[in-house]
Symmetry: C2
Subunit: 425 residues, 2 copies
């Protein structure tokens, strides 16, 4: 797609040579990992198309929106409410952070012992290869973990449109007050950016759109609990990943269309994995495109992934926002309540997450849990130990993995995962 979009990418300030190299790797990875799968639902064709055009057609849509005066807001975290962006007639997109890029340059800004996701965000900026980032009128950082919190100080020196959102560390009354106050501040900032005043009607409408998107993801998640298994974990993950990039209404329709197909498969007992394939729940750090390393290893090691306890997965999509508030204030409260329930490991204590993992194991009939920690992600690698202890108490097998975006440890991981899967049979 290079030729067709070259002038657009140039206009966004991308480094074309680096970007071409990135697209080539991305395309090859997608072919090897995704297109190599068998018996995929036809509905995945839509997501294949989206991915093939993830730096092309989708960016063109955003550029077209910009030309019509619509603003683009980029985000690195599920704590940034899409409802508020949509209500002010802006588009919220997730920003690239799923692959290593320009590592040497990155380490001039960040210590080597920084998690791959944060390094990736810097790499995409420094390498000028993320069209979402370059198209964004506002980039939202958030004080989740220490790594991101401190990294945004440096990222702010590389761009003039970084907006930092503070977040609480405890689910106390004051913690909730802080979140509400920060969402109010964000609402004002978005209104200033767009010149659009959010109304009760526009906010209600935005909540409905985002709820519909999340409901579609809930439906998909539930279908993955079925036995026979009718969709791979890789494909399930992809739908969740695409939810951060795509137009929300079109995305919702596409997910439902695929769900109709999956329901038929279930009724026809059309499983795509051998009977009694061990079912794995993944729990831990988010997996942004094109971070498919661990699911790919798992699903080529004789197991299938039936759910993701992850921000790119159920933790990010769980719970709808109540849309019945009769004032903007009530709706903002409802938004705050919904996001305050997200059980990210940045919170202390975070017992809810341990409970949710066990509920998901049950709901998705998982035989075991693989906890995915990005190396140097302190909140998740630290919480992994209590997670494992809690699961062991319930006799649920758990394997703790710590890795990054590099490919050096694939062989070693495969050996460990095959042994784990064997034990689940």
């Amino acid at each position: 797609m290079s030729n067709e979009y070259e002038s657009m990418w140039k206009g966004l300030g991308l480094n074309l040579a680096s970007h071409d190299a990135l697209l080539e790797v991305l395309g090859k990875g997608y072919t090897d990992i995704y297109l190599a799968q068998k018996d995929r639902p036809e509905g995945m064709g839509y997501f294949d198309f989206v991915m093939s055009e993830v730096h092309g057609l989708r960016i063109k849509e955003l550029v077209d929106e910009k030309e019509q005066g619509r603003k683009i807001i980029g985000s690195y975290c599920v704590f940034v409410p899409e409802e508020i962006a949509l209500a002010a007639n802006a588009t919220l997109v997730g920003l690239c952070s799923g692959a290593d890029f320009a590592l040497e340059e990155v380490e001039r800004y960040l210590p080597r012992n920084t998690c791959a996701l944060i390094k990736s965000a810097f790499g995409f900026k420094l390498g000028q290869v993320c069209p979402y980032l370059e198209a964004a009128d506002m980039v939202v950082g958030e004080n989740t973990c220490d790594g991101k919190k401190k990294a945004y100080e440096s990222l702010g020196t590389l761009m003039d449109n970084l907006y930092v959102m503070d977040l609480p560390q405890m689910k106390s009354d004051l913690g909730r007050d802080l979140l509400r106050s920060e969402y109010d501040r964000f609402k004002t900032a978005v209104e200033e950016l767009t010149g659009v005043v959010i109304t009760h009607e526009s906010l209600t409408q935005a909540i409905k759109i985002v709820n519909a998107k999340r409901s579609a993801l809930h439906r998909l998640a539930k279908l993955r609990s079925a036995d026979p298994i009718v969709i791979s974990g890789l494909d399930g993950l992809l739908a969740n990943q695409v939810s951060f990039y795509d137009n929300p209404k079109r995305f919702t329709e596409s997910v439902h269309k695929m769900c109709d197909e999956l329901e038929k498969r279930i009724q026809a007992n059309q499983g795509i994995f051998p009977v009694k394939t061990p079912r794995i729940l993944i729990s831990g750090c988010p997996m942004a495109v094109p971070n498919w390393k661990l699911p790919w290893i798992i699903e080529t090691s004789g197991a299938v992934i039936v759910g993701e306890e992850s921000c790119v997965g159920e933790r990010g999509a769980r719970n709808l926002t109540q849309d019945t508030g009769t004032t903007i204030d009530e709706l903002m409260d409802a938004i705050t309540d919904r996001y305050f329930d997200v059980d990210c490991a940045i919170f202390t204590p975070n017992q809810e997450r341990l409970d949710h993992i066990q509920e998901m194991v049950k709901a998705y009939k998982a035989d075991g849990v693989i906890h995915y920690g990005l190396q140097f992600c302190q909140p998740y690698t630290m919480e992994a130990i209590p997670v494992e202890n809690a699961l062991e108490k319930k006799d649920i097998p758990c394997l703790r993995i710590e890795t990054d975006y590099g490919m050096e440890d694939v062989g070693q991981l495969k050996t460990r995962i095959e042994a784990f899967v064997e034990q689940l049979k």
Copy 2:
């Protein structure tokens, strides 16, 4: 001192064999590092004595206080206000976290990639070798960094008296509200623990005691700015370290007594390092007893340390608390204001720290800065890069060190530090 205190240690629940081994290492380290220094001020005799009795006489004092009904509160951080403890007739002590202990057992609770200070706190608990911790009626954890925040969740399973204090991440109005609210909650908890209601008088008095201690440390710090150099950096650090353990009034007197002596040395031009010895400012992570590794390497590499931009140093002791409030509320506000100014790297943004480092370089006539980051301490290792950039802009040489409590890298560090010192000559 083993025999004399054995029954006391046993009574506290220490593991005597492990504790003996620890004391032996500590004693040897102190002899090799501290007592090997030349021309030390006579006033350091007091601190030598304190250190020789740090698990003996000082613990006996605490045990005696407990027998008289006084409560002991242990803390891991300078954000826990000693003023509030003292005002309720309690004693605040810093808890052991400066040496590796029981590492294998620790890694059942914490990932290997956790900073040495946090691992140390667990090691002292799991190994049952910290008499301060075992004597404490209340142990205060605080949500500073992700590492500590998540570690306290596990530490809480090892003790029944852990109290967790929340902290803000930004110096916003809501951040200050949170700190004030948490100090109010702490005050109530301390009053409940001690059965003593804090009064305007007792709080004023406590503020004065802590201010006096900090003023003594300020006086000592200022004398280290002199040329000739009349006290080593190791000895200066020790005074700061002892301030966390000692009776505050006795400590204050002892520091002033030594300062009188240092002033005489300055007047008599009695330097204890060769003229033109390169002067180093250390900046970064706190150094708890017996973490003397880096200062020891620096001061045996031809340089002298003239100040510590550290929680165990100027960052922790900077600023007095206004004691003129006419109500408890005003005094609590003053305490909040004082601690809210601490420029720990957990805050974002944290420009004040960059400014303070440069002010300290000037005030102490430092020729260069060595930034000390504990490996895996994200806030400080990440902030080290902007610190270095800011210093380079002002042509102040800076060396970034990342290390832990192990001795494996001493040779390598010495080579790097000698080269850095050479460049300052």
